[in-house]
Symmetry: C2
Subunit: 134 residues, 2 copies
């Protein structure tokens, strides 16, 4: 039995490139559709390899309030502000976590791979809709 290889295979490469070139985040299903032309693969394979990419620290994922997972390459260090009411999402200009440094000992013996930071609130539209209904 061999251990986990240090390299990533061609399917994983394809997924990663797809994410990198798309300029945004995609769900597993979107990736599956997106790859139909260039490098078709089964949905199960998409998910299996996305997990590997996460475990290797190449890909990060965040969850929408809907529960859907969105994947992005880790080097896109972008975080979001999401409306808890309508689910609308807007990217933050920059990552505030990079400005600080978190004491290394916080992480004990973990090998840190990436982080996710999400802000939640009520967007203007939803706030207006709410107050106008009272």
């Amino acid at each position: 039995m061999r251990g986990a290889p240090l390299t990533i295979n061609s399917r994983q490469q394809a997924l990663l490139e797809s994410l990198r070139s798309s300029g945004g985040e995609m769900s597993g299903q979107q990736l599956h559709r997106h790859l139909e032309k260039q490098s078709p693969m089964g949905l199960a394979t998409v998910y299996r390899n996305l997990r590997v990419l996460q475990q290797r620290g190449f890909v990060r994922c965040r969850h929408l309030p809907s529960g859907e997972a969105l994947y992005a390459p880790v080097e896109r260090d972008q975080h979001h502000l999401t409306c808890v009411d309508c689910g609308k999402t807007q990217p933050l200009e920059h990552c505030p976590i990079h400005a600080i440094d978190v004491p290394q000992k916080s992480f004990g013996d973990f090998d840190l791979l990436f982080h996710t930071l999400e802000f939640f609130g009520i967007c203007t539209d939803c706030r207006n809709r709410q107050t106008s209904l009272i």
Copy 2:
């Protein structure tokens, strides 16, 4: 048609208290079980009211890599470090976001309710298991 009330109802109160007293985070299902004695309610009701509590800013949720959502009262400003391999989770001692201040304009017209910050990595056990297998 009335607008969203400013107060929370008794079911929501029960959920919130359950979360506050339990000292930790719970999934929807766990909350449902936990409330069986004191204030039994259907699973659907649990989820419906958890959403309301989130929208009012009383409750925050984060998602495990498994996709399961864990709920906690927002005043417990605690974040986590999770192993992308085995899913093991450990709380951080303090929230580094509180130490900085994120420029208010980042949030545009959103009313900010809460944030989630999660770190991901490989825990010692998983790292050892991996390398020992090579």
